[in-house]
Structure formats: C-alpha cells, structure tokens
Amino acid sequence: MIAVEGLTKVYGRRTALDHASFEVPKGEIFGFVGPNGAGKTTTLRILAALLEPTAGRAFVDGADVIQHPDRVHERLGYMPDFFGVYDQLTAAEYLDFYAACYRQPRVRRKKIADDLLELVGLSDRRDQAVDTLSRGLKQRLCLARALVHDPAVLLLDEPASGLDPRARVEMREILKELQTMGKTIVISSHILPELTELCTMVGIIDQGRIRATGPVQDVIRRLTIGRRLRITVLGQKEEAIAVLKPLSAIRDAAMVNGAIEAAFEGDEATAAGILQTLIAAGIKVSGFSQLEGGLEDAFLKATSEAVG
C-alpha cells in the first residue's frame, strides 16, 4: 500500500532523510518510531506530497507522490503533528468545509460530518467553536478531518503527543476501530509504549536512516540479544543457578527481584530442555516463563548502535 524507495531529503548541509526504504502492506498499522528530529515528519510530508524528496521515490496505493500528487491526495488522509484549526467555525462546519474541499457532494456532507463526529466521540460538541475545544478534542477532530473523504491510507504524525493518558487511550480505541475498517495506518511517534500494543508493523528511524523494519515481534526478536527466562523456585535458588550456569545454552543467570532471570540462546525446544534439566536436578520449579523483549529494548538497541 505504501512503498518508499531510497528516499533522501537534504536541507542545505543537513541530511534529514538518508536513503530510507520500507514498505507497508494493506491493512497494517505501521508504527514509525524514532527520536525527535530523526526524519519521521519529513518522511510523512513526502508521502503526503507536500515535500519534494532530494532523491528516491515514494508510492501510495501505487500512485507516485511526485508524478501524481492528486491521486495520492485522493487515497490519503493526513494528520500533521499540529492542530490545523480555524477560529470562528464550529466542529460540524469545520468538517463540512474540508468535505467540500474534497469535493464531496453537498447532500452527503452533513451525514459525513455527523458520522465522523460520532466516530471520534464529538457528537455533543458539533456546534461548539473549534478554537474552544480542549487539546485532546481538537486532536480527535483533526483525525475526523483526515477521514472526510474515506481514504484507504492514514498518515498520523504524532497523534498522541501532548495528550493526557485518558485521551491517549481514547485515541487508541479510535485507531483500533479504524483498523477494523481495513485502513492502512502509519503512526509516527517518539513515545514507544503507546505503539507496542497497537501496531502490527514497526519501522525504527534514527538520524535519517531506517534502522529496522518489519512485523513488531520480528523486529524485537532481531534486535534483542538472545531470549530471557524467568524462573521461580521454592527455596534452592543458589542450587538452581548452579545447575543452570554450566548449561551450554545459558549465557547468564542471576537473581532479579526474587526470581532467577536467565539469558539463553536457542528455540522453544532449548527452553523445554532447560526446564527438564532443572526438574531432573530435583529443583522445585514453581514458575517458568519466557520474557518478551519490548519494543523499547529493541528501539534502544537500534538507536544506540547508531550512536556507537
């Protein structure tokens, strides 16, 4: 649905984007993660045909962003990282205005505005002036604005920045709803926890370079070193560590918060073998689980490599 090939953007002497390439298939939620100034907004603006790349190409639903910006705009809903709101307009008029800009017929515009206000939970605010809405509500209205022409692709630049936790949860619920509607969504963010459970795919960008991209779990697995086990035992903690340490698969084992954490290399069978060894050694194992490395670890790994 979205394809980016060797995208480069140079501002004067600063390279904001350095041969970035990635793809987002249809229906995925792509988390675009990176620190501030990494090149996320630049990439999204190029995808929205608002910025000309210095080199490289980008496609949205098969349409080249430079050759056919009109086709791109038809298929794309773009929500920038600021609230583009006008004074003196009500929420319903605001949506009606953008629906008109997208050449939606007059008869349909009222229904579009009502449906979208319903979707983002602003039905009771339809006649309130846009500039008097709170930050969270403005953000939701801007999301509704990006949807007035029912685009297949949504580009959301930092949709959760500056929102309180409750507003953030609400934003996440709306995005989940949009995912079930089959939309392809690209969300950029520098805040990781909000993305981990929402995204199906992730791209990590730092200093203009794409450090890793793919399905969330793949990226995490690729970037976190080995895998970790969390083992709880009844007493016998020293004995258990003594049993674990000599094993060839175990790289390290230590007490962490009253449980044993062990890093190992191998697959599911290796983990089962470790459990069998412990039990055979007479250790009473009360808990045995694999720790999932988070996106945060992966992100730190990816960006620290770049720094190093």
Binding site: G6, L50, L51, A55, R57, H73, Y78, Y86, L89, C101
Partner: protein, 350 residues
C-alpha cells in the same frame, strides 16, 4: 462548463465569509469607513454651504459638486489603499503561520483555487465597502456637475485599483512566509503604485516639443496611478498641470506660464537657468494644447485616462496573479527546474 463552475464554486469563499463576518472587526471596519467618508462629505458640504451665503447659481453648484466628487473619490481611494492590502496580505501567510495550509494542499482543491477563494472573499468585502459608499456619493447629485457615467467610471477605476492592490497583497502573502513582511511589502507596493508613479511624473515629466503636432501627455508610467484618471473624470478637463515641462537642454530651468482662465489654453515661455526667457525677446512658443479628457499623445494616444489606468492595472494584476500561482504550490514545478523525479541512487537499491 462544469469545470468553470467548479473553479468559481469554492468552499474557501464560503468559509472566509463565515469567519470574516463573525468577528467584530468587519462591522467596525465598515462603520469607520462610512464615518470617515461621510464625515469628509459632510465637512465639505457644510463648508460649501457656509461660503455660499445666498442661493447657488447653476455654475457655482456644478463646480461645488465637482469639487466634492473629486475629494470623495480620492479619499475613498486612499481609504481602500489602506484597507485592501490588509485584507489580502495575510491570506496565504496566515494559513502558513497557523499551519493550516498543508491541510488545504492535501485536499482535492487545486492550489490556484486557494488563491482564487481568498481573493474572491477579500474583494467581496471591498465591493461591499464600495456599495456602502454609494449613498454618500449621492450627495454629489444634490449639486449636479457630475453625470452618472462619470460616477460609474470613477467607481470602476477605484474598484480595479483595489483589485490590483488586493492581488499584489496576495502575491506578497504567497512570496513571504510570514504575515508581517508580507504586509509591509504589500503597503510598499501600494504606495509605489498610487504615489510612486505620480512622483515619477513630477521627477521625469514629458518635455514639451514645440515642433510636435500633438499636445504633450504625462509619461505612460503615471497612468498606473488611479489619481490622474479620477481627477480627470471629476474635472472633465485635460491634464495641463502635471507631468509636462519645457525642454531646457540640461541645467535647471522652468517655464513661465500664463493661463487664460481656469480651463483656458496655457501659454508657456521657456526660461533659462538665469531666469531670462530663452529665445528672442517676446517670442512665444505655443505648443499644441490638449483638449477633452483623452490622452493626447504617447503610448495610449487617443485613450481616455481611465481606460489606460484600468488596462495597466489589470496587466499588473495578471502578472501578480501569475507570480502567486507559481509560488503557492508546496512542490513548485517551475519551468526551469526538472519535473522528473530523481531515481534512487545505487546506495538505496542495495
């Protein structure tokens, strides 16, 4: 047909009307405008009534009517020169500052429609001000001396001048990323257009050629200013008082003119730098005199002053509109720049 309708039908116009008319600024601007124009009209009217102790005779009334008309049209032009740039100089740059312009660019609205919508909305407000001033101008008809076609021509000149200032303001707003420099540039351009072109006529007037077969006219640049045609329309007499001088072949000189009556032919005697008339004593050169309100010679020879002004201003407007249309799109496809995308380099493919 549908395309034309779509180009004119513009959601931006509706939105601009709404937001403009919902603020307190518009009614205040309209009230102040009417008060200033009406105040001037009233002041002149009352000073005229005071000076005419007895009843007017017809000739007096007509010349008072003309005087009042000229004051009003010139003052209206000055007021619009202050208002119009303010209406359009922020049109595009304020959208940039509020960061709402990207949201318009990603819609199906062509970038030119954004310009067109902003222009139409601002010019509608100017038109509203012009309509509001009609009752004040009706005061002129109490005295007479001004025909309806003169009033219409004066309003046309004023409206076209306001349109030009509006489009120049729009071009400044497109060229400058911020509203403040755009506004300064728009007022600068307005000043050059209205006063600068007149100043040009004072500094570089047309030299009177005694051997010419046609009467001299002020230089063509000066027709850019609406002041000349507005005065010509009001007085209904040729321009003999501005933009023309006797040729002195270098050095400072001048001419000594004697006039037969207020609108009669003027006879000029060239004077040298030492103040002594040039040529044989008593020899008087009488170059051809202009008659009527047509431009006697030069580029626009045979045109009415207002026709020349309207034509030149429309040309300036067209140029400014083209500049704005080229500058506004987020990705500018300038003719001298490549339009084909650069392929990804080898490093990207690998």
């Amino acid at each position: 047909m549908r395309r034309i309708a779509l180009a004119f039908w513009n959601p931006i116009v509706a939105k601009e009307y709404r937001s403009r008319m919902r603020t307190w600024r518009s009614p205040v601007a309209m009230t102040v405008y009417i008060l200033l124009l009406g105040g001037l009209g009233w002041a002149i009217f009352s000073s005229m009534s005071a000076s005419a102790h007895t009843a007017f005779n017809q000739g007096q009334a007509a010349s008072f009517g003309q005087g009042l008309f000229i004051y009003l049209v010139l003052f209206q032009m000055v007021l619009l020169a202050f208002i119009t740039p303010a209406l359009t100089a922020g049109a595009v740059s304020s959208e940039r500052e509020r960061q709402t312009i990207d949201l318009l660019f990603v819609t199906k609205l062509p970038s030119f429609s954004i310009l067109w919508g902003k222009l139409l909305a601002s010019m509608s407000f100017v038109l509203l001000l012009l309509l509001l001033s009609v009752p004040i101008f009706s005061l002129v008809f109490l005295f007479g001396g001004i025909e309806l076609d003169q009033l219409l021509a004066a309003f046309l000149v004023t409206a076209v001048a306001a349109l030009t200032l509006g489009i120049i303001g729009l071009a400044c707003s497109t060229a400058f990323p911020r509203t403040l420099p755009a506004t300064v540039a728009a007022y600068g351009a307005a000043f050059i257009l209205l006063a600068g072109s007149l100043l040009f006529g004072l500094l570089f007037p047309t030299d009177i050629d005694p051997n010419a077969t046609r009467a001299p006219a002020p230089p063509a640049v000066t027709y850019m200013s609406p002041v000349l045609p507005l005065v010509t329309i009001g007085t209904n007499t040729p321009v003999t008082w501005y933009g023309i001088r006797n040729y002195q072949g270098g050095g400072f000189g001048g001419s000594s003119c004697s006039s037969a009556g207020p609108y009669g032919p003027t006879t000029c005697v060239p004077i040298g730098p030492n103040g002594i008339p040039i040529g044989k004593g008593g020899f008087v050169r009488t170059p051809p005199q202009p008659y009527g309100t047509t431009i006697p010679s030069g580029l626009f020879s045979g045109w009415q002053y207002w026709q020349a002004t309207v034509t030149m201003q429309l040309l300036v407007s067209l140029a400014a509109l083209i500049v704005s249309a080229v500058l506004i799109p987020p990705i500018r496809h300038l003719p001298w720049r490549r339009t084909k995308p650069i392929p990804a380099t080898a490093a990207a493919v690998e």
